[in-house]
């Protein structure tokens, strides 16, 4: 995936968010302390917040000019935001059945109510839901945060590519990402490439594009 941020700027109460880079990657990590603007950056990509100016391209499509619902950007927010009035199945299939083959890892959860899931299960459901729309890429906000190591490994194995993965944990970024952008008080660094770790399997499922 080629991801281009062309001079994206958004004034926030505390600081201005600025991102301008061009990177060819299948897994971009966004690393920074809490409150640095990581989530805001994802919301801009997903189309939930409009930047003051700037454009964003994913594989030469200018997604920043598309409506939110036309962007096909899968977004898994930190608070997972599962629809509380729907079953797991209805949640997962809300965006379509594009990723139906992935549902085998949901079989055990499908008919439960979302309020009865554990933290790890909720993340799995939110991830599956974001994948069924045939997204160009997935935005994962602190997807592994607060899970124990076994749960993390379980979830990591399910994450397809390409992704933008947000975390304040260096280890998680190292385990999942090819490139990393550091962000502090809204200022994004240039992308740096990361050494490939044992986790970044070349046989990962690819999102259809």
């Amino acid at each position: 995936m080629r991801l281009v941020f062309d001079d994206v700027t958004l004034a926030l109460p505390e600081f201005a968010l600025r991102a301008s880079f061009d990177v060819e990657t299948n897994a971009l990590g966004i690393f920074g302390p809490s409150g640095a603007g990581k989530t805001t950056l994802l919301e801009i990509i997903a189309g939930l917040r409009a930047p003051d100016r700037g454009r964003i391209f994913v594989d030469d499509v200018e997604i920043s000019s598309l409506k939110t619902r036309e962007r096909r950007i899968g977004y898994v927010p930190q608070d997972d935001t599962l629809f509380p009035h729907m079953s797991v199945k209805k949640n997962v299939l809300y965006g379509g059945t594009g990723g139906a083959p992935i549902l085998h890892w949901m079989d055990d959860l499908m008919h439960r109510g979302v309020t009865k899931l554990s933290g790890g299960e909720r993340r799995r459901v939110a991830l599956a839901r974001a994948m069924t729309t045939n997204p160009r890429l997935l935005l994962l906000d602190e997807l592994l945060g607060g899970l124990d190591d076994a749960k993390k490994r379980e979830l990591i194995a399910l994450i397809p590519r390409p992704i933008i993965f947000v975390s304040h944990e260096r280890d998680e970024i190292a385990a999942l990402c090819e490139h990393v952008v550091s962000i502090d008080r809204g200022q994004c660094s240039a992308p740096a490439s990361l050494p490939q770790s044992s986790f970044s399997l070349s046989s990962r499922p690819q999102l259809k594009r």
């Binding site: 939110t68 619902r69 899968g74 977004y75 608070d79 629809f83 509380p84 809300y94 965006g95 729309t133």
Partner: protein, 209 residues
């Protein structure tokens, strides 16, 4: 006459359900010109003397009224006037409750639905409305209870014609004036029971919402 009152209150509640829900949603979720004006206008019957509201309705819906002269059927002093008075007086209570219900629905759910490809109409019917439904039903129950007890506007535009426009409230008034306290007391009991049941039900609904 008790059955007639309940019937009229049900019709009034049914009539205000769709326009009331629409206005409540517009007030809760959209910014538009003249919003404050509409807001005030909708709430007016709540604070004006009901008799004054009745007088306005009489002017509008009388045979020579702006609306009444164009209708082709009589409103004033018929059952339609009973429904009209009940609808207008219960409308603000319904809109208030439904509006709060809409405001309590987290925008995050709507946002995520948009990233999953849902358009605004789908977002409304699959996310916003179901999540607000308890509050909307509670609003309908309160509106129904208010409609049952309507007196001031009713007596002005519908009168108190036995067997035609007499309601529980207007009958109590007549019975007291005639000195038939016993009959008045039994009607009073009926209205207390109905009102208590309705408010109790709506409180339960709102608590779980």
């Amino acid at each position: 006459m008790i059955a007639f009152t309940i019937e009229m209150a049900l019709v009034a509640t049914a009539l205000l359900l769709i326009p009331g829900t629409l206005i409540a949603w517009l007030l809760a979720r959209r910014a538009w010109r003249g919003k404050a004006l509409v807001e005030t206008f909708v709430m007016l019957p709540l604070v004006m003397p009901p008799v004054a509201t009745g007088l306005i309705l009489l002017r509008l819906f009388g045979r020579r009224g702006v609306i009444g002269s164009r209708l082709g059927f009589d409103v004033v002093f018929t059952w339609r006037a009973v429904v009209l008075a009940m609808t207008v007086m219960a409308f603000p209570l319904f809109v208030r409750t439904a509006r709060v219900a809409f405001e309590h629905v987290s925008r995050r759910y709507e946002d995520i639905a948009r990233t999953l490809g849902a358009g605004e109409i789908r977002v409304f019917f699959t996310i916003t409305l179901p999540l607000a439904s308890r509050g909307i039903i509670a609003g309908a129950v309160i509106a129904f209870a208010r409609a049952l007890g309507e007196f001031g506007a009713t007596i002005l535009i519908a009168g108190n014609i036995e067997g035609q426009t007499s309601t529980i409230a207007t009958s109590i008034y007549t019975l007291v004036q005639l000195g038939e306290d016993r009959a008045a007391m039994s009607l009073l009991l009926v209205s207390v029971v109905i009102a208590f049941g309705a408010i109790f039900a709506s409180e339960l609904l709102l608590r779980k919402a």
